[in-house]
Amino acid sequence: MADTLKSDATVSEGLDRRRFLTWVMASPTLMIAARLGLDVPEAEAAKPPEGATTALSLYLAVQTDGRIVTTLPRTEMGQGITTAVAMLVAEELDMALDRVDVRSADADPRWAIQLTGLSSTMRFLTGPLRAAAAEARARLVTAAALRWRVLAHTLTTAHGVVSAPDGRRAGYGELAEDAARVLLPAVSSQPRPVSRFKLVGQPTGRIDARDIVTGATRYALDLDIPEALPTVVARPPTLRGTVQSVDDASARTMPGVVAVVPLGTGVAVVARTFGQALAARAALRITWTPGPASALSDADIRTRLRDSIGPRPLPPLFTTRTLEGRFDFPYLAHATMETQSCLARVQGGQAEVWLGAQDPKYAQREVARALGWELTPWRVTVHITRAGGGFGRRFFTEAAVEAALVSRAIGRPVKLMWSRDDDMRHGHFRPASHHRILAYLGPGGRVLGWHHRAAIPTVEFPHGFGDAITALAGEVLPEVTSAVFFALSQKLPYGFGWVSHELRDVAIPIPTASFRSVFTSQVGVSNEVFVDELARELQVDPVALRRERLTSNRLKAVLDKVATEGQWGRSLPPGVAQGVAVLEEWDSAIAHLIEVDVTGGTPRVLRIVIAADVGLPINPKGIEAQLQGAAVDAMSTTLSAGIHIDAGTVREGSFADYRWMRMKHVPSDIQVHLVRSDDRVGGVGELGYPSAAAALTNAIARARGSMPTRFPILDEGV
């Protein structure tokens, strides 16, 4: 890629003061690439960026039909990033939202960070997107000025058209080729100030809604790759068990069966239809070697976690009383609606795979490694499709490895699908955990310290955090990455004196992965539940305690908002109570107020009131959707959904026993109030989970008069 020119842009007015580099990519029509320019000294600003092509953040292309195609190293899994990105592009370029397309890039080492997670997409890409789109606009205007021989600053843009005062008009499509050859923009390429936004910040429907409601959306297995054969894999009863021997005589003779292919992880069956592949899979007779966790059940795991907590540390000076809370969290399956799936075509020393992966470069490495191509990973092309949910599960790409191996073995393309029980029983799980929280009280109810020690099986981050260095650390030293992530992510937003969070990393041979909110889904939740216990001990109102001790004004603002909107303290019948909790993470702040009724057998959530400060809310409608969805996740895992391990086997095999919330469990009232502070773009994807889980638990504690300490709560009786 020959890069001809660049300029730099600083997105200012406090939203993001970082510098972004933009440059024109060699192309017949205008293409602008952008990346973070933090590491580039100002003196270099006039020269083409050294190595810029290896650190791309995104690029956009103006097509001759006037459409703008934005290519991102990110994956749409339902979180709405394509809509938010299109809104930013349409805003800077003064064009209609439906003229902007957003695509996920193939795996490519040129992308600086090609990973969808850590609530990072809009935090990281808003700046480069605005810079690239503003640069494109400046060049389109300049191209029109040169064509019409008028002063560029007299021209205006609207609806994807450049207009001159004399009435001449040219669409972006007509200018796309000329704009690619503009040497220097003659008008400012600064992004416009937030105060002039017309579209960004307005509640906007998803750009992919029509395809979804008409069934036209294509997930990996819906793609039309000619002759791709349905494939399923027989898997061991225990986690990470292996094949000892296989008798496939009867399976091979069943209707529609094309091939039986032994794999390390199981035995693949290829057939004309998935129905036939599944029937033949059931007819395989396999002797399995039990996996490494086959001696472990829930009770053993809980004991090992509890035993790792160790003795209490010495309390701070002047401690008069120590409160102790203990909490147990279960393993969780991500249970995405679209099970793990991948299409693969391996032929002639090249491989192509199609899947919805959260880390395409990891998928590429893993497939290359499985095929024995570690040194030539570029022989593997990874196409990113839309994913039917991710939540952390799609950092792992076993389906791609299996599909590639089977395709190579039979010399034909395959579409490989995990059945629901495969997906549930052979997942990478949010690990179980045990927590001990010690709150140290001094004279007069002062809180002198807060000591939280969490025993959590190592969370596997082999994919790292999107760049090569952490990926290497994740693979070589998994517990280091897990501990580093823990240390970076866990904070307590209260003035509680000496605060300490410690991770006891426990080696348990059950596959793990990050899950929406990662460690905060346990540490952050139990902290907020124990803050309520502290309030009970001190005999103060939990909202009043938080107001007094919170160290963040943003948190105080969202707490006040839910207390007002949710009418905190209003009179409720016996057995019905309110609970609150807060969280500041990913540069955003949130509070939940939840009302629950415990008079029936199962706690029933009546109402959820959410207030969030996510900085500039790019698409309030999408943010509201994420927060509503995260609240349902929190309800599910707090009340009823958890994974049980019986001698190395996962008990739950479908949504019949993994009791995720259904329509009848979810209140019709989940209000979201956005408290705006337009000086930043905060993360949203994971924000809505922890304080929802804690507020629900706190409401149940207040309704019942005792604090739940084991999740899911319906397991208490087990």
Binding site: V213, L221, T273, G275, A387, G388, G389, R420, R662
Partner: protein, 159 residues
């Protein structure tokens, strides 16, 4: 292997398939109709929900054998003449997130509204609680069903 003839989205189709092959795989793997999704294969998640003779059903547990002459409608056949009011309501309420369960949710909602033009919250709970949405869009599904009910009563279309 027998030939099975049935009506799919208004067209008569004839497929060669074993009697016991479930309709989901006939639709997806033989006919290339991919709107109905695989979510569980055992009738507990509702991702494949479609209509058989106008009633919601689960193609994943329905063998193709018993379909002769019957009428199957999938999400692809719903808005043949433009968007069905339920689809429109789904867009207006911006229901979908990952979208994978939504064809099934929409087909279940259309079947509900056919029988009950003005469903209460309890009716919606009863009719929709066998369709899982892992993204947690239930609040908006409920709102979209109510909106669609209004659209249908005001004569904005049929189905």
């Amino acid at each position: 292997m027998a030939a099975h003839q049935f009506i799919l989205n208004g067209q008569t189709v004839s497929v060669e398939a074993p009697e016991d092959l479930s309709l989901l795989w006939v639709l997806r793997d033989v006919l290339g109709v991919t709107g109905p999704k695989y979510g569980c294969g055992v009738g507990v998640c509702g991702a494949c929900t479609s209509h058989l003779d106008g009633e919601a059903f689960r193609p994943c547990i329905h063998p193709v054998g018993g379909l002769s002459g019957r009428e199957v409608v999938t999400i692809e056949g719903l808005g043949a003449q433009g968007l069905h009011p339920v689809q429109q309501a789904w867009m207006d309420e911006d229901v979908a997130q990952c979208g994978f369960c939504q064809p099934g949710q929409i087909m279940a909602a259309v079947a509900l509204l056919k029988k009950n033009a003005q469903p209460s919250d309890a009716d919606i709970d009863a009719a929709m609680s066998d369709n899982v949405c892992r993204c947690g869009t239930y609040v908006r599904i409920r709102a979209a069903i109510k909106r669609a009910a209004l659209l249908l009563r005001s004569g904005a279309g049929g189905g």
